[in-house]
């Protein structure tokens, strides 16, 4: 499994539209109903190592449901998920994380009173060696050191590793959340609208973080409403509409209008045909 990450560690970005790569995560004919409402209808989707897949669609198109299913927060009524060739069942977000699938939630999910380092290692703390470690005594220095190294490695900026992240700006907090996912993800990172509340510069920083993560050979699934952002980071764009995949587009060939058309349902066929 590690070779997936190694394969992508080569500095050259993975070739776009390279369909020969085996997908690392696949959702096949996934359906989800809430009462009488079909949130997802037989959606099939895949993402390869070192690929950025953007998920777009109007509100209520099924993006959130799909993200929840991929991250283990909800279970599909029908359909199957595969990690590589293995069929998997994600009973909880924790189960997904154990399998190397990390999620950056829209509401960040940081513990605001803890430091950046403490947040990066939340739930996966290092303890000291020896009897102190058996008592659960934390190796704070080691965690801070590793947190700094990993965040530097990602090119993210965290002003201070001791202060609670409550003190950080929105962009800095987003950096911590993404860095946390990037550090632990072995296969896939799912990001739910990572730029929703960010300014221009910070959005650009998030784009950089996504590209660096991709270059490490991780598959990135990013939900976004921002067409320019998606054109910037994505290798493929999957558009959901009314619970089904209405189009899968390449940012190389598709235009802004194609995406809008696919999202709104106007002349879907022409958009998909390009």
């Amino acid at each position: 499994m590690n070779d997936i990450r190694l394969a992508g560690k080569e500095s050259e970005p993975p070739p776009r539209d390279d369909r020969t790569r085996a997908p690392v995560l696949r959702a096949v004919a996934v359906s989800k109903r809430f009462g009488h409402v079909s949130a997802l209808r037989e959606v099939t989707l895949e993402v390869a190592p070192g690929e950025v897949l953007a998920l777009m669609g109007d509100n209520g198109a099924g993006k959130s449901t799909l993200v929840k299913i991929l991250s283990g927060a909800q279970q599909p009524d029908e359909g199957q998920l595969y990690l590589g060739d293995e069929p998997i069942t994600l009973g909880s977000p924790h189960a997904a994380r154990v399998l190397g699938i990390e999620t950056v939630y829209q509401d960040l999910a940081l513990a605001d009173d803890l430091s950046a380092a403490a947040n990066l290692f939340l739930g996966r703390e290092h303890v000291r060696r020896g009897p102190l470690g058996r008592l659960g005594v934390l190796d704070v220095k080691r965690m801070r050191r590793e947190a700094e190294a990993e965040i530097d490695n990602l090119g993210a900026h965290v002003p201070d590793y001791r202060s609670p992240v409550r003190m950080f700006s929105g962009g800095q907090r987003q950096s911590v959340a993404i860095a946390r996912a990037a550090i632990w993800a072995r296969h896939v990172i799912i990001m739910d609208e990572p730029t929703a509340a960010l300014g221009l510069v910070q959005t650009e920083q998030v784009a950089q973080l996504i590209k660096r993560t991709r270059d490490r050979g991780i598959a990135v699934i990013v939900v976004s409403h921002s067409v320019p952002f998606v054109f910037d980071v994505a290798d493929r764009i999957a558009v959901l509409r009314l619970g089904t995949t209405s189009a899968v587009l390449s940012p190389k060939t598709a235009t802004h209008d194609d995406i809008v058309a696919a999202i709104t349902g106007a002349s879907v066929r022409t958009a998909a045909a390009r």
Partner: protein, 350 residues
């Protein structure tokens, strides 16, 4: 504060560390503000009353009177930092103490010529019984809060009434007496290295609890759960389990405080602990904890315990009506929370 957006970005690398340091200083200052208040109190009373106040025997007295509250405040600090609240601690203390006293009396046997045949065994059994019974109430609180998803404020308001009522039912409203005197001589007033044993118990518990909270994974999870329980859950932390453990610790400490109280007075005091919950919560909040969870220290809580204790003692010595103490603590609580609020809004403005 209203820096333009562009300046904010270009400034970020250079500007952030200094701003961070300023905040750190601010945090340290306000964090130690209560510590300074304690020092000021001690100085004022010393200047006024000299060696009547500033004497080893008097400090010993202050600490002995604060030892119960210290145990309760340690448990409350864990709970409050973990985002919970326990109003039932005074009642649980009383209930545990009643059971403890009953066990001591039952096991110690009938006194022959004023000598209880199994006094030591009885006292040991009473201590264990009191702590275990307290922990059981804590377990009940924790299970109700996590399983029924009722806010801990409500659950413990309910168990407050239940524990006190049951204690009154068991004792028929009369305090349990007739305990072997060894419980006072050997425990309640036993001096070890110049300090009464209850003080040592409170100090050691506070020290261990403080280190555990600051240094261990368990402590970190307590902060995480209180700070953002959803984030903690997504990180794989067993949030409910953590809450139940915190309530059990609280209950066990209330039981321990109950039996130490019993040892000092050789009688239960069924009606004497109705304000313990508020005193303990006030101590934790004065010590810099947030009632919303995620922030606070055992050191702060200990200072928050000592301020009322010193004030009470000092006012008596100075000759002011001790009722003023209640007024002063109320004022200190409000000032402390106001400071906390100011600090919080300043941080959020960043």
């Amino acid at each position: 504060m209203t820096t333009p957006l562009v300046v904010d970005h270009t400034d970020a690398p250079a500007g952030e560390p200094t701003r961070g340091r300023m905040r750190q200083v601010l945090t340290t200052l306000t964090g130690n503000w209560v510590f300074l208040a304690l020092i000021v109190l001690i100085v004022v009373f010393t200047v006024d009353s000299g060696s009547t106040f500033f004497a080893v025997s008097n400090f010993r007295n202050i600490l002995l009177n604060a030892s119960d509250t210290m145990l309760l405040a340690v448990g409350s600090a864990y709970l409050i930092i973990g985002g919970q609240l326990d109003l039932s601690i005074g009642s649980v203390l009383v209930f545990s103490q009643v059971i403890g006293a009953k066990v001591v009396v039952a096991v110690s046997g009938t006194p022959v010529g004023g000598v209880f045949p199994h006094a030591l065994l009885g006292i040991a059994a009473g201590i264990v019984a009191s702590v275990v019974v307290g922990a059981a109430w804590g377990l009940l609180n924790g299970v109700l809060v996590t399983r029924l998803r009722i806010p801990s404020f409500i659950v413990t308001l309910g168990t407050l009434g239940m524990a006190l009522g049951l204690a009154q039912v068991i004792t028929a409203g009369r305090d349990v007496t007739g305990l072997p005197p060894q419980i006072a001589t050997g425990l309640g007033f036993r001096q070890v290295l110049g300090l009464p044993l209850p003080v040592w118990v409170a100090l050691v518990v506070a020290l261990i609890a403080g280190l555990f909270l600051a240094k261990t994974r368990f402590g970190r999870y307590t902060y995480a759960v209180g700070s953002n329980s959803e984030a903690a859950r997504r990180s794989g932390i067993r949030v409910n389990r953590q809450a139940v453990i915190l309530f059990v610790i609280m209950g066990a400490l209330a039981g321990l405080a109950g039996v130490l109280d019993l040892a000092r007075f050789t009688t239960t005091s069924v009606s004497g602990h109705s304000a313990d919950n508020l005193v303990a919560i006030a101590a934790v909040i004065i010590g810099g904890a947030s009632l919303f969870g995620g922030r606070g220290t055992i050191f702060g809580a200990a200072i928050g315990v000592l301020i009322p204790a010193v004030l009470n003692n000092g006012l008596v010595i100075v000759g002011v009506q001790p009722f003023w103490q209640t007024v002063a603590i109320g004022a200190i609580l409000i000032v402390a929370v106001t400071f906390d609020h100011i600090k919080r809004t300043q941080l959020l403005r960043a």
